[in-house]
């Protein structure tokens, strides 16, 4: 009995520590944008607050107005949407086709190929490849091209996407397709009527994963898009942080919040609809 009680206490203590650890850094993001004249300090925005009483600050919407008036803030969010949606669409389409073929048709050397590509992608997408990717973009005239950036990002995400989707498709029984096949459905009909609906949760997972990846990607757009009108929110955030030597906390906190909201909404939507689970993907 005592053991049980101690266990309970230990459990809640641990959970409380975990909760505190993960909540603490986020507090600033949800308070500063609503605070008049924000500092690094976390203060609760209250109407009429901030008159010397510690821990509160005057509540305001002014910071949002400032972001709206900033010439590049909102357009950069639009750019982020374009880049993420474009990349996600391309990744899902190409990865699904490839994963399906690799899962169902025995092609020579497919497993070795997948492992090598996966390894390569987890290595190359970082700083290691910035030099050649930059040169490649120059040669192919893809500097300042959103399409070029989408292609480059897609190339980096594809191996992992194929790997995860193939695993997902491997775990989907083949009898569905065989059944449709005996009824006379053509391969493309089978893909449309049976396979796509069956693997839709997997496709959604990959789409979300791709969007989240591109949405947060800073290095590639920073490297390849010099036209400030085409730059996504990640780059603009960094610009707000560094421009003029002193970080503009009003803009930065508020823009950071606006920039964060879409991925959070997307996560909530997906976890509600499909349950944000791991579909094998990494299981071995």
């Amino acid at each position: 009995m005592i053991r049980f009680v101690l266990g309970r206490i230990g459990f809640y203590a641990l959970v409380a520590v975990v909760l505190a650890f993960f909540t603490l850094p986020l507090l600033w993001l949800v308070t500063a944008p609503f605070t008049a004249d924000p500092t690094y300090e976390v203060r609760v925005p209250l109407p009429g607050g901030g008159r010397g009483d510690g821990g509160t600050a005057a509540f305001t919407w002014d910071n949002f107005r400032a972001v709206l008036e900033h010439p590049y803030a909102l357009p950069s969010l639009y750019n982020s949407v374009l880049l993420s949606a474009g990349t996600a669409a391309l990744v899902v389409l190409l990865a699904a086709l490839a994963a399906y073929a690799l899962s169902r048709v025995r092609l020579p050397g497919r497993d070795a190929l997948l492992y090598v590509l996966l390894l390569l992608s987890s290595i190359i997408t970082g700083t290691a490849a910035i030099v050649p990717l930059f040169q490649l973009a120059v040669e192919l005239d893809l500097i300042d091209s959103r399409l070029g950036l989408v292609l480059i990002l897609t190339g980096g995400l594809l191996p992992a996407a194929i790997f995860m989707l193939k695993d997902f498709m491997d775990s989907t029984p083949k009898s569905y397709e065989e059944s449709a096949r005996v009824f006379g459905a053509s391969p493309l009909q089978i893909v449309r009527h049976v396979v796509v609906p069956l693997v839709r949760p997997g496709l959604a997972t990959i789409a979300v994963w791709a969007v989240a990846n591109v949405w947060g990607n800073f290095l590639m757009p920073y490297l390849l898009l010099s036209d400030v009108e085409k730059q996504p929110a990640a780059v603009i955030t960094y610009t707000l942080y560094t421009e003029g030597g002193q970080a503009n906390l009003r803009l930065l906190s508020t823009f950071g919040l606006l920039y964060s909201v879409p991925v959070v909404l997307m996560y909530l939507f997906v976890s509600k609809k499909y349950g944000f689970r791991f579909h094998g993907g990494i299981k071995r």
Binding site: Y40, R106, S122, I124, T127, P132, L151, I190, F276, F278
Partner: protein
């Protein structure tokens, strides 16, 4: 009703028949399968494989961002590699990277991720959703935003942490830059391990746990004898992926910019500084090649373990 065709002969044409008749589930056949994979492979070849090979070549030259070597880089063989191996800055950076990977990925993310998954394994309801939601939030927020959140958290004068600990003025990012980015990266990346272990623990047959409990095994013994053998494969794959990801992670740059005095300059940041800030593209490419090799060794090591444990 179908009409009778000529009776089938035995041997001839059998090979051709087997080839024409695709036997995969959807009747896709090899030609369509190849067409399905071609676009993905083409993009990967151009934007992933080619740059990787190009790095290997650049590492052998004196290519620079500006100056004479920008127009006509010299081929210098392995000079860049020799230079790197004699450069204490390279070794410092490598050591910091090992610390970063071991501290934040292997100990931090795996330990914390597994702990959370284990604590919440049998739970349903709001508490589980709240904890998981927050952990995942840290993972999905853009890196430009979260790194700035940590700058705010750790700020020496008005940061939340110092206010809570009652030590205003303590310069975390200056005095403990490595500890800062290790804790930061643990916070940032735990979600992946947590979800993976959550899924893996769900696959441990309850009957095995029950029979262990009937045999009087303690919680720790259950973990060691029942749970771990089941999720060993997951653990290794997870370690492989997060090790590689952490090894190549550039986000610490946004927190400390590698400073002060290079005390948090992990290899990814080191390469960026050499190649982009100093413009030594050839030398940077050689460093990239070394990183690639280290990654390869790490990956092969894990894959070996994975194979032998299976």
């Amino acid at each position: 009703m179908a009409q009778a065709t000529s009776p089938p002969d035995a041997a001839p044409g059998e090979d051709a028949r087997a080839r024409r008749h695709s036997t995969d589930a959807a009747g896709l056949g090899r030609v369509r399968a190849a067409l399905f994979t071609a676009p993905a492979l083409a993009l990967i070849a151009v934007f992933l494989v080619f740059p990787a090979l190009w790095v290997l070549y650049l590492g052998l030259t004196t290519y620079r961002l500006t100056g004479a070597d920008a127009a006509e880089p010299q081929f210098v063989g392995l000079d860049n590699f020799v230079e790197a191996l004699w450069d204490p800055a390279f070794w410092d950076s490598t050591w910091l990277t090992v610390e970063f990977v071991l501290g934040s990925a292997v100990v931090g993310q795996v330990g914390l991720g597994f702990t959370i998954a284990w604590l919440l394994r049998d739970r349903r309801g709001p508490l589980k959703r709240l904890v998981e939601g927050l952990v995942i939030l840290a993972w999905i927020l853009p890196s430009a935003v979260v790194s700035f959140l940590w700058v705010a958290l750790l700020d020496r004068d008005s940061g939340t942490l110092n206010a809570l600990l009652g030590i205003p003025g303590f310069p975390w990012l200056l005095d403990h830059p490595m500890l800062s980015i290790v804790v930061f990266n643990t916070w940032r990346g735990t979600a992946f391990s947590m979800m993976l272990y959550g899924a893996a623990l769900g696959n441990v047959p309850p009957s095995h746990l029950e029979s262990a409990r009937l045999a009087g095994a303690t919680g720790w013994q259950q973990l060691r004898d029942v749970v771990f053998p089941h999720i060993k494969g997951h653990v290794l794959t997870n370690l492989l992926l997060i090790s590689l990801w952490t090894f190549n992670d550039f986000t610490p740059f946004m927190l400390t910019a590698g400073g002060p005095d290079g005390r948090s300059e992990v290899l990814a940041v080191h390469v960026y500084k050499v190649a982009v800030q100093s413009g030594e593209l050839g030398y940077g490419a050689a460093l990239s090649t070394i990183i690639l090799l280290i990654n390869l060794v790490v990956a092969v090591f894990y894959l070996r373990l994975l194979r032998s444990k299976r």
